[in-house]
């Protein structure tokens, strides 16, 4: 097999004329080969590529030349240890078969398209090309999530105005236990802390609740795991204290759902 572009002997006979030099656009640098091999969607695609690359007439494919190039490609795939699908080998066999039947002596008069051993291959290549183009057409159609986006508007119903259910103490304690458990997972963080004041923490929580535009805060917001067990206990005590003084409301949107904290706003 000749290395493309380097061989000066007759490379192929195209439409009855010998090709001494391969067309300029035929030479494909080895690196490019690596890049594009994976791009091919099977043997038909690879063949179509080879034929187009050289502006060959699909109805008069120089089988020897194409077969050589084709085999060169699949050998390259093999070298690169790419998974060489059986389809590629089937096509190589088909090309060889076509070539061999073309070599068989024929009565000159009946060499029309019907008897051309290439006819079936040409039909498949043309058929594949149609769907390849159709796939490109479909890709160009305007489509959702790329060209168009569904426009919708929320239906504002009364649902959101319903007061959220209050939380019973057991659930609150449960949620706190969750915090403590997560804390245990972080227990290797040994942090020395000054004694924390519940008063200060209450003030800090109120500050958070009233200074933000958010109305609801997740129960978990107020626990900083890095403060250690003492820190989260102080937070919990502060939340309970604030609830007792009716400065905050603790609620839950659904059973087992998240617990939320909100400041009481004086009307």
């Amino acid at each position: 097999m000749s290395e493309a572009g380097t061989n000066q002997t007759i490379n192929a006979i195209v439409a009855g004329e010998p090709y001494l030099e391969l067309p300029d656009n035929l030479y494909i640098p080895p690196d490019a080969l690596e890049v594009c091999l994976e791009e091919f969607e099977g043997p038909l695609d690879l063949l179509t590529y080879l034929i187009k690359q050289q502006n060959l007439n699909i109805l008069d494919i120089p089988i020897r030349m194409i077969t050589e190039q084709y085999v060169e490609y699949i050998e390259k795939m093999d070298q690169l240890r790419m998974e060489l699908a059986a389809e590629y080998l089937v096509m190589a066999a088909m090309l060889a078969e076509i070539k061999s039947s073309m070599l068989l002596p024929k009565q000159a008069s009946i060499l029309d398209a019907e008897d051309d051993p290439r006819a079936e291959l040409v039909r498949r290549l043309q058929e594949y090309e149609r769907f390849k183009l159709a796939a490109e057409d479909i890709d160009e159609l305007p489509r959702l999530q790329r060209d168009n986006y569904v426009a919708s508007a929320d239906l504002i119903s009364d649902v959101s105005d319903k007061p959220l259910a209050t939380v019973d103490l057991e659930l609150l304690v449960g949620a706190f236990k969750g915090v403590l458990q997560r804390l245990d997972m972080n227990s290797h963080h040994k942090i020395q802390r000054d004694e924390l004041s519940i008063r200060d923490r209450m003030a800090a929580i109120m500050q958070t609740l009233t200074s933000s535009s958010d109305l609801l805060f997740s129960f978990d917001t107020f626990f900083v795991l890095s403060e250690g067990r003492q820190g989260v206990v102080v937070s919990f005590m502060a939340i309970l204290e604030l609830a007792k003084e009716e400065l905050i409301i603790i609620m839950q949107s659904s059973p087992l759902g998240g617990i939320w904290v909100k400041a009481v706003v004086d009307e």
Binding site: E127, E129, I138, L141, R146
Partner: protein, 175 residues
């Protein structure tokens, strides 16, 4: 009344979050069906005209009518989300094209046309997207599944019918 009717149709199309067919819309006015029947199409036309100068359009696809952002604004819309729009592989698009144009079609027929095995992943992806479905079995040995495209496929690609697909090039294509 007509003005209010138009507002209700407009609101429903925005609130539904999926295409609404004329039947769906008619159902909103279960009380006085007769009065509505004549007007609905013209109401939709009127809405379409009103939106002509806006960034949003009212279009008809296989499943019905929907409001959508006009394609010319997509470059800006895309920046609303972190992920880039999905790019579909050639293998997937070719498989989809064969199903769309040749339906109903078996896996074997797709493989014959493409010259390679059809990956199960692609068929599954197309089914998960609800773009294709099994429409029956071909009465040949093995009774292979026959695949068809769905209305969701047409909706996604802004089409009302399969006839609106770009026409398949003629067989004698110049390679």
């Amino acid at each position: 009344m007509n003005k209010e009717l138009k507002c209700i149709v407009e609101a429903a199309l925005f609130a539904a979050n999926k295409p609404l067919s004329l039947t769906d819309i008619k159902r909103l006015f279960a009380g006085d069906e007769q009065a509505v029947e004549l007007d609905l199409v013209s109401v939709i036309n009127e809405l379409q005209n009103e939106y002509a100068s806006k960034s949003i359009e009212l279009i008809e696809t296989a499943s019905g009518y929907r409001f959508q952002v006009k394609a010319k604004y997509s470059p800006w819309m895309a920046r609303l989300w972190q992920e880039k729009p999905v790019k579909y592989s050639r293998a997937l698009l070719e498989t989809l094209a064969i199903i769309a144009y040749q339906q109903p079609v078996t896996r074997g027929e797709i493989e014959e046309l493409r010259g390679v095995a059809v990956s199960s992943l692609i068929i599954r992806t197309l089914q998960e997207r609800d773009w294709i479905r099994v429409s029956g079995q071909k009465e040949v040995p093995g009774r292979p599944a026959l695949y068809k495209t769905t209305n969701a496929f047409l909706d996604y690609f802004n089409l009302c019918t399969l006839e609106q697909l770009p026409s398949l090039s003629s067989l004698k294509v110049d390679l």
